[in-house]
């Protein structure tokens, strides 16, 4: 006789099991659909970091709903659970102020978009390539290959230099020549060198001007524009080239001198 309740209980359990499986099956389908169809375009239109962030927000949200539905179907009282979670979240909220601040900063970073994944940036004095912009932190790889995690709140508060924002950059080199040398000739020699080198852009035009009459030298400021990707190579080439060309032309680059007069 008591087999019938057992069978109906088993059928009820199977129904619940099917219901839970169905919930998670639909969850996976929704996440896949959203990833493939809805937010895939974000990667191209708004960059990798926006894509990643939206992806995480949607994934976590869908999972949360799925967990609530699963618990509900298993007979857990969701109302009391949410009430308990409310109290819990107040407690957690106090404890997680920093994380929430970072999370909100992350959202502001997303809106402001001062940099993207792959950009070379300086955030508050730390320079590196942006690896990821996550909900709570931004990750960099420095040029000496060190992994740096910066909380988003810190990123938002810091001065950010983005070296990858524009396609071209200006290089400035200050060259001191002797007071005995011909300034015009020195300018011509340097300009000739710049014009003959294909690494420097023809436009915007390079500029050479007298910057300062310093203690031991007349300082010339040489400003050239280069492609962003050529920056380091061009800087090295510019400074070395100027030195070599001035040497060839007999123009001296003086070093600080002190003239000592000895009384008789």
């Amino acid at each position: 006789m008591d087999k019938i309740p057992n069978i109906s209980r088993i059928i009820g359990d199977i129904k619940i099991l099917i219901y839970v499986v169905l919930i998670w099956f639909i969850t996976v389908i929704i996440i896949k659909y959203v990833k493939n169809r809805v937010i895939r375009g974000l990667k191209e239109s708004h960059g990798e970091h926006v894509y990643q962030l939206v992806d995480k927000i949607i994934t976590y949200s869908v999972y949360t709903v799925a967990i609530i539905l699963t618990l509900n179907s298993l007979g857990v009282n969701i109302a009391s659970l949410i009430a308990a979670l409310g109290l819990f979240s107040v407690a957690v909220g106090f404890a997680a102020q920093t994380s929430i601040s970072n999370l909100i900063s992350g959202i502001f970073l997303l809106i402001d978009a001062p940099f993207q994944i792959g950009d070379v940036v300086d955030i508050g004095g730390t320079t590196g390539v942006v690896l990821s912009i996550d909900l709570l932190s931004t990750k960099l790889r420095t040029f000496d290959n060190i992994f740096i995690r910066i909380p988003n709140e810190t990123v938002l508060k810091s001065n950010i230099k983005n070296y990858a924002k524009f396609e071209i950059r200006r290089i400035e080199a200050v060259v001191g020549i002797s007071y005995d040398d011909d300034i015009t000739k020195a300018k011509e020699v340097i300009m000739e060198f710049i014009k003959s080198s294909s690494i420097f852009l023809a436009e915007p035009e390079p500029i050479i001007m007298v910057q300062e009459l310093a203690d031991s030298s007349v300082n010339l400021s040489v400003r050239v524009w280069v492609k962003r990707t050529d920056y380091l190579k061009a800087k090295d080439y510019l400074v070395q080239g100027i030195k070599e060309e001035l040497d060839k032309s007999g123009i001296t680059i003086p070093y600080p001198q002190i003239v000592v007069h000895q009384s008789k």
Partner: protein, 238 residues
């Protein structure tokens, strides 16, 4: 080993030699320096070896040695020089095989646009000629006939011009490579460049067809109507 042909392009020299057994040697040199040397196994019997113009991979910002001044509601025709690459091709009828490529020397890049928004182009300084007879070109250059039409009521000064060389068709005019006419229209503080698809001289032999012209003609055929002149916005005048 039999030397079939030597083609000189600027300071470069391309020597094509027949070794035998269907093997050919192509040597690119500059003065006494050999830049490249390669062996080709192919039956080139009946082929002729010629130099053919080829387009650069980016548009060229051509800066004039002297600015061109055009009075109000006037037009002026000038010739400028545009750098190109030169392909050495083996040709037999419609069959063409590129066996060597020579790029122009010392091509510099230039930024055109605002500092925060623009693009990188090739940069070339060209003299401005009134006619072809007064001009000399290197083998890696083509003459571009430019007609500047000033439709404004003020005098205009043109100092540079951005040319999409790959849009231009190139013609042989008495042994000179000359492109189709380029029309620059200055109107309401704007400059528009039209690539005309008209030969510089009537009956000139076309040796290279501009890519956009090909596309345009294809479209014309497809749509059965005249698309009119293709226009490209450009820039900068003083």
């Amino acid at each position: 080993m039999e030397t079939l042909k030597t083609i000189d392009i600027n300071d470069y020299s391309v020597k094509i030699e027949k070794i035998g057994g269907g093997v050919y040697k192509v040597t690119l040199s500059r003065g006494k320096d050999i830049i490249s040397s390669k062996y080709l196994i192919y039956d080139f019997e009946g082929y002729e070896f010629i130099a053919s113009p080829s387009y650069l991979d980016k548009p060229v910002l051509v800066k004039f040695d002297i600015p061109v001044i055009v009075g109000p509601r006037k037009e002026k025709k000038i010739f400028i020089l545009l750098p190109i690459e030169v392909d050495i091709i083996a040709k037999r009828g419609a069959d063409e095989i590129t066996i060597e490529n020579i790029k122009p020397d010392n091509l510099k890049d230039a930024w055109f646009g605002e500092l925060h928004e623009g693009d990188i182009y090739y940069y070339y300084e060209s003299s401005v000629y009134g006619d072809l007879t007064s001009a000399e070109r290197k083998e890696s250059e083509v003459f571009v006939p430019v007609i500047i039409k000033n439709k404004d009521r003020e005098q205009r000064k043109l100092e540079k011009l951005l040319i999409d060389s790959y849009q231009l068709s190139i013609y042989d005019v008495d042994g000179n490579w000359v492109s189709e006419k380029v029309e620059v229209v200055v109107e309401d503080n704007e400059i528009i460049v039209y690539y005309s698809d008209e030969p510089p001289v009537k009956g000139a032999k076309e040796i290279k067809k501009g890519e956009v012209n090909i596309a345009r003609k294809g479209l014309e055929k497809l749509l059965k109507r005249n698309l009119g002149k293709l226009k490209t916005r450009i820039f900068n005048y003083g």
